[in-house]
């Protein structure tokens, strides 16, 4: 009798315990992530302007989205962001791979070099932006000065102003700062790499390049995709370096999605429209991340049979 009466009570208590224990985490997520997300989604359907708080209730349906989708400047920034992402990630991958392979070769001072390699990551992006703004400045910049002193170029090259060069300088700064993310992850991959398949490939008739191409590189790809996933999120939200170096200008030549969103939202105080853009930008980020993540899963499926 006692068993019969006790069991249901214990069972019901047990049902509530996990929910209770998880509730703080859920509450935090709801207030920190979900509510702001829904709120900003809502505002993207309104005419919300920061200077007119009552405009928060002016429901205008899809007009914000209509406007940005028909705006050629938005699409230009969108395209520029994709180009920026693609170039920066690929360059960082190539340089990171090169650095990792070189450091993997040396037997002395490996740890020291690994630490030195991380220095660029220790600076704030704002400071990196200022540093490169100074280096690339057309009048007082280090680079032009050096070029002229060496007699390579005589005129002042407008690095930050010129159309292709502007983007180039920003990508250069981004690559300088973050190549080590790739280098560190790929180096970890190289350290973890089993030696036997490399030797098997040599015996199987591969020269060094073929060993790299057919064995080392496929083994490293999961590590590269981890780096790409992390970095694609990072680069897609690029704002600080760009804002410091060029401010998205001149004449929108270096405008990326987030510099545009910040201008529309805070300078022009059209928060509703900015939020609509932000949603498109987030979808772009998700698309990139999802792409690299599926690549990562696919590459990892084959790992773990080497030993």
């Amino acid at each position: 009798m006692s068993i019969v009466s006790v069991q249901p009570r214990r069972k019901s208590r047990r049902d509530w315990t996990p929910a209770l224990l998880l509730s703080p985490a859920f509450l935090v997520l709801i207030f920190v992530v979900l509510v702001p997300l829904l709120f900003s989604l809502y505002t993207s359907f309104t005419n919300y302007r920061l200077i007119r708080p009552d405009s928060l209730y002016e429901w205008i349906g899809l007009r914000n989205y209509q406007r940005i989708f028909t705006d050629s400047k938005f699409w230009a920034a969108f395209g520029r962001t994709i180009i920026f992402l693609t170039l920066a990630l690929n360059l960082e991958f190539i340089f990171g791979l090169g650095i990792a392979l070189l450091i993997n070769k040396i037997t002395w001072g490996q740890r020291t070099l690994r630490t030195i390699m991380m220095f660029p990551m220790m600076f704030s992006p704002i400071l990196v932006g200022y540093q490169f703004k100074f280096i690339f400045n057309d009048n007082i910049g280090l680079l032009n000065n050096a070029l002229q002193s060496l007699g390579i170029g005589d005129g002042a090259i407008a690095w930050l102003v010129d159309k292709p060069l502007g983007m180039f300088t920003i990508i250069f700064a981004e690559v300088w700062m973050s190549t080590s993310v790739f280098a560190i992850l790929l180096l970890a991959g190289l350290f973890a790499m089993p030696r036997d398949p490399l030797e098997a490939a040599k015996v199987d008739g591969c020269n060094s390049w073929q060993v790299f191409r057919h064995i080392t590189l496929p083994f490293l790809m999961p590590f590269a995709f981890i780096a790409m996933t992390i970095r694609s999120l990072d680069v897609a939200r690029a704002y600080d370096i760009v804002d410091v170096m060029t401010g998205g200008g001149p004449a929108n030549r270096t405008e990326l999605l987030w510099t545009m969103i910040a201008r529309v939202g805070y300078d022009n105080s059209r928060m509703g429209q900015a939020n609509a853009m932000a949603y498109v930008s987030i979808l772009l980020s998700i698309a990139f991340t999802y792409y690299f993540f599926t690549k990562l899963i696919a590459a990892r499926k084959y790992m773990g049979g080497a030993e």
């Binding site: 030797e199 015996v203 591969c206 057919h214 084959y302 773990g304 049979g305 080497a306």
Partner: protein, 367 residues
Amino acid sequence: MAEILLKDVVKNYGKLEVVHGINLFIEHNEFVVLVGPSGCGKSTTLRMIAGLEDITGGEISIGGTVVNDFAPRKRDISMVFQNYALYPHMSVRENLGFGLKIAKQPKDVIEERVNEAAVILNIEDLMDRTPAELSGGQRQRVAMGRAIVRHPQVFLFDEPLSNLDAKLRVQMRTEIKRLHQKVKTTIVYVTHDQVEAMTMADRIVVMKDGHIEQVGSPLEVFERPVDTFVASFIGSPPMNLIPGEVVMRDGRLHVAFNADQSVPVPASLADKTTEGQKVIFGFRADDLMPDGHAVPIMGEASGLRLTVDIAEPLGTETLLFCQFAGVDIQAKMYNPRMVKPGEVMDFKCALDKTHLFDAASGKSLRG
């Protein structure tokens, strides 16, 4: 023709010399097993033949060509590794065909050879799996398949069975031997397991500390070991070795182990030794059998009375552990019965099969 010649081959790691000038000739289509304890330089020697290690001194030639400075891919060899070393991101089919693909063979040739290897090794059902989805034995088979598809001049095996469980090891042993009979090729096989060496080899090369101790057919090495190391390394259980001194007793040379224990020197060895020489007397467990449980002994036999410490029944025979002259020795009992510890038994030793080694050098006096 793919004979392999090693001439004064030396290998240094920094200042440490690990292989000290070895000489070895391996004939075309011969199955040679390099055997020795770990650290004896057998794997290093194999890897030098493969080209995965530089040769510090001497010369290695394959098929009459000196290959010292050839990269592995130029040596026309293939190798099976201890850890299989399959390419994890490729299917079994791609693993098998990889070498041919690199060699730019046409697609139909690759397919034909891969299928042929799959049939030989019985892995046709596994062709589309990745190495991660295979068991140890299957991986080993794929690794062997990858070696045979290229029809190389020489196969190199680096302890290929040591990661497998005991049962599978015995099975693969037979398969490798059968493979050698099917695809006639020169094989160099490295192992630390003397049973593998005995069962598979045409010729065994026993190595120790970077030197070759003895080269010979399995039976030669088993029956006429050149020194105490080979005697104790080859054969299971290891040869019984008892230190003693040659003395004259009852008008005949004896090996005396102490004041009252001695055995006569076999007639075949009588003129190879002299009175007063310090020797090590060696005999295999098979040649020391209790009365009534022995196989017929050819030639002279000597009687011993011993107390059995431990008996290990193995079914067809029982191993008896006894003390003799302060040394643990083992004897074999055929048609066994249960033996109680502490039982005293009369043994017969087949004298003609015993060995004498010089105590100082360890070299066999049979010469």
